[in-house]
């Protein structure tokens, strides 16, 4: 979707302001939100792409105003309600519906570190052969996908060069809709800064993106 989250190349957000000796969490609730969202994810009712899309579809003004963990919290509620893990009434009252069964959490304390260390690899075996190879010229497609996509606006219609083939990876556009992994080749593509931003850019500079085959045409 052409959302507010797709902010590469935008102006007006001001200077970057690093904070010295920043803590991992600025308040305990931030850590609880991180942990809650990941513990809910262990129910496997959604996936990482659907999770990202739930954040992208927050109202644009809220998206810009909210902190990272406020967005994660809003997303956790949306996902839990959408998947039926909690009902609207339970969310509003804060109490379990007496008719709802008490479940057994899939993520227990002993499983946390193994789950972190395992993660969720996205590379998949495929019988297909890659359409592109390193050194080849490509053009990012001018497409406007209304759902989740990982093709930023700032490279659409721009020419680049295949830098590296990463093998087949889960395709986020379909995975976010829970319509299947549709694994396809993923490539690192190099775009010259001048191709993206015009003659004012340094001729030595480049931006590299990881783009799926369906985002690319030969050029």
């Amino acid at each position: 979707m052409n959302g507010i989250h797709d902010m590469g190349g935008m102006h007006g957000f001001g200077k970057v302001e690093p904070q010295a000796d920043e803590p991992v969490f600025h308040a305990p609730w931030e850590g609880r939100v991180l942990a809650l969202r990941r513990a809910l994810g262990a129910w496997r009712k959604w996936n990482i792409d659907a999770g990202r899309h739930s954040i992208e579809t927050l109202p644009p003004a809220d998206y810009v105003r909210m902190s990272y963990y406020e967005k994660w919290f809003a997303s956790a509620i949306k996902l839990a309600l959408g998947a039926g893990l909690i009902s609207q009434r339970e969310f509003e009252t804060g109490r379990r519906d007496p008719a709802a069964p008490v479940m057994m959490p899939p993520l227990t304390a002993d499983k946390v570190m193994p789950a972190i260390l395992k993660g969720g690899p996205t590379q998949r075996e495929t019988a297909a052969r890659p359409r592109f190879s390193a050194g080849q010229s490509v053009c990012a497609r001018e497409i406007n996908v209304p759902g989740h996509t990982r093709l930023p606006r700032y490279v659409r219609g721009r020419r680049g060069t295949i830098e590296r083939d990463h093998g087949a990876h889960v395709f986020p556009d379909s995975n976010a809709k829970l319509e299947g992994e549709n694994p396809q080749y993923l490539y690192t593509v190099r775009f010259a800064a001048r191709e993206l931003w015009g003659e004012g850019a340094n001729p030595a500079d480049a931006v590299y993106l990881d783009l799926w085959e369906e985002y690319l045409d030969g050029a």
């Binding site: 609880r32 513990a39 809910l40 804060g94 379990r96 008490v102 057994m104």
Partner: protein
């Protein structure tokens, strides 16, 4: 004295604290989450997984040419030699700074970041300012960090649009070859592995 604005902010914050607590209570009551698992998750990212992991990888690459070759060839496997793997670092690539190339990592679409080696991202990395500007004005962003990259040095910006996560291998500063591993690791800050700083000699 706090201004009215600060009072408003505090009230919003305390409301968030209460709402998070209320959701956690409901989820625990329903058996959807285990509170001990939440504690373990917070502990993992507060105390076990952070930029010290990445610093160990960097210093090993500086001091062991065979390891550096493995790291640049297959970063996921080379980093896993330390036991660092998994969530948000399933597929790693290491990019090397040299006298002619400076690398910078960003995620314009969300805030993807290599958790197993750097831990959770700082606020500035997740900010709209960084995400919007890093790709169009990387040299200006680096000036915000007090770092001037000469025009003849090529800037390579890595926008983490897929599940590949990037770690910058910074240059070892001159005159530090005699330092021990621990002293070298202390020089390698989080920002040097994102690309917003250079490693400084002590």
């Amino acid at each position: 004295m706090a201004s009215d604005h600060d009072h408003d902010h505090d009230n919003t914050l305390s409301e968030t604290v209460l709402r998070v607590k209320a959701l956690e209570t409901l989820l625990v009551e329903k058996g959807l989450v285990d509170p001990a698992a939440l504690d373990a998750m917070v502990d993992a990212y507060e105390n076990k997984i952070g930029p010290r992991n990445g610093a160990r990888v960097v210093v090993r690459a500086w001091t062991d040419p065979a390891y550096k070759a493995r790291l640049l060839e297959d970063a996921t496997a080379a980093i896993a030699e330390f036991g660092y793997s998994g969530a948000q670092g399933e597929h790693m690539v290491v990019v090397e700074n040299t006298p002619t190339v400076h690398n910078l990592v960003v995620c314009t679409l969300c805030s993807c970041y290599p958790w197993p080696v750097l831990g959770l991202p700082p606020v500035w990395y997740k900010s709209s300012a960084y995400r919007s500007r890093a790709v169009i004005d990387p040299r200006g962003v680096l000036r915000d960090f007090g770092l001037a990259v000469p025009d003849e040095v090529a800037m390579r910006v890595w926008d983490s649009t897929a599940e590949i996560r990037y770690l910058v291998l910074p240059e070892q500063p001159a005159g530090t070859a005699g330092l021990g591993t621990g002293a070298l690791e202390a020089l390698v800050t989080r920002d040097t592995m994102i690309g917003t700083a250079k490693v400084r000699a002590p």
